[in-house]
Amino acid sequence: MSELKTLYKEGVWVNNPALVQLLGLCPLLAVTSTVTNALGLGLATLLVLIGSNVTVSIVRNWVPKDIRIPVFVMIIAGFVTIVQLLMNAYTFGLYQSLGIFIPLIVTNCAIIGRAEAYASKNPVHLSAFDGLMMGLGFMIVLVVLGAMRELIGQGTLFDGADLLLGPWAQSLRVEVFNFDNQFLLAILPPGAFLGLGLLIAAKNVIDAQIKSKQIAPPEAEKGPRARVTSLT
């Protein structure tokens, strides 16, 4: 149980692939111009990560150390191609707006990093959970960054969500405010760098606060308890 808890903390916060390991920045920065794109790529990465972790963990005892990297690369590339085909078939519009970045999941070092560092040494269920948590951590950062950029750049949230979730999701679109001219910096690539920088800074501030609380001197010992109930 505690192993699961550690994996959860590692993936989502302490060792977050995007904020701490700074892996997979190319898709992270390129597709986070809207929440929908971010969520789509996040889900795709999550699926690939779970699939590759599970497979690598299953075959870990049969793969000699010398050829493990090519085998891992093949497994990951296979899963990415499968996810790409499925997205092309079932979420066509999103597939078109994510474009080249789906095949680029192959080059997301977070995936081969987890295969090598965790899945190749641990049993299947833990590897699956590790994939889930690492993918979740990556997806959360993508979505938060996407929300920041979409909100500042276009004044909307969930624009085009129907591409990912089907026609009903059109009602998810929120127009928070309306400008005559979009705030371009947020939508263009520099906005992604600035946004990611702010997110990392925010995480560091929170970490520092948690740390300062932990080393704060323990509360002074309480004095003897005064009896207040039977004074009357």
């Binding site: 093949m74 499968i82 939508i187």
Partner: protein, 213 residues
């Protein structure tokens, strides 16, 4: 010793390559129909945007010719769909490309009626700057709909330019290159359609789905 380990590793790698390739191939086989269907749906939707489906009665997406002409852009093999009603020519829908955009090619779809006027224009693919040049997308701005019902009167038609160049089309604030490229390309496509309208309909039918993207 080393030979045997090489052989063993080679065999393991081969096994994995076969397994992953097999898996990808089977998923590909399972999704191929669905993907083709999606592409067909998208093509139908695109064609509907530029040309009223009530104005013709043939299978527009299946009736096409493939043309290479510099008026339609620098690339070979542009597709032209032919709309007919009761076997009489109604309109042509032309795919054309301009390389003069701000970044990369802009792919356009223009429908030209038999009298030489435009039934509709849409941008099908572009990489223009978000927020500036992307107003050529109908989702972002209605600018592209201003082409409807216009016509081109010869190569020297001065109205076919952005206002900055003395023409009739609005440019976008901060982005003149994109609309200039689109206007020029649409003008060329319309001229091509006007000059070759009968030839297009006389040509034999081509395999449309192979080249449509």
């Amino acid at each position: 010793m080393i030979i045997s380990s090489m052989a063993k590793n080679g065999a393991i790698l081969t096994a994995f390559a076969l397994a992953t390739t097999g898996l990808v191939a089977s998923i590909n086989a399972l999704t191929a129909d669905k993907i083709a269907e999606q592409e067909q749906l998208q093509l139908t939707a695109q064609l509907q945007e530029v040309l009223d489906p009530k104005s013709y009665d043939n299978q527009l997406s299946q009736d096409c010719v493939i043309i290479t002409d510099e008026k339609l852009g620098p690339h070979a093999n542009q597709v032209i769909y032919r709309a007919r009603k009761n076997n009489k020519p109604v309109a042509v829908v032309i795919r054309h490309v301009t390389p003069n955009g701000y970044s990369g090619d802009i792919n356009l779809l223009t429908a030209v009626l038999s009298d030489g006027t435009i039934a509709g224009v849409r941008t099908t693919k572009h990489e223009e700057t978000p927020g500036l040049g992307d107003k050529v997308e109908v989702k972002k701005s209605l600018w592209i709909t201003t082409f409807k019902s216009l016509t081109v009167e010869g190569e020297d038609d001065a109205r076919w330019a952005v206002k900055k160049d003395g023409g009739q089309f609005d440019q976008f604030t901060g982005a003149t290159i994109t609309p200039r490229a689109v206007v020029g390309s649409v003008k060329n496509a319309v001229l091509f359609a006007q000059t070759n309208f009968d030839d297009i309909f006389a040509a034999p039918n081509a395999e449309c789905m192979e080249v449509a993207k």
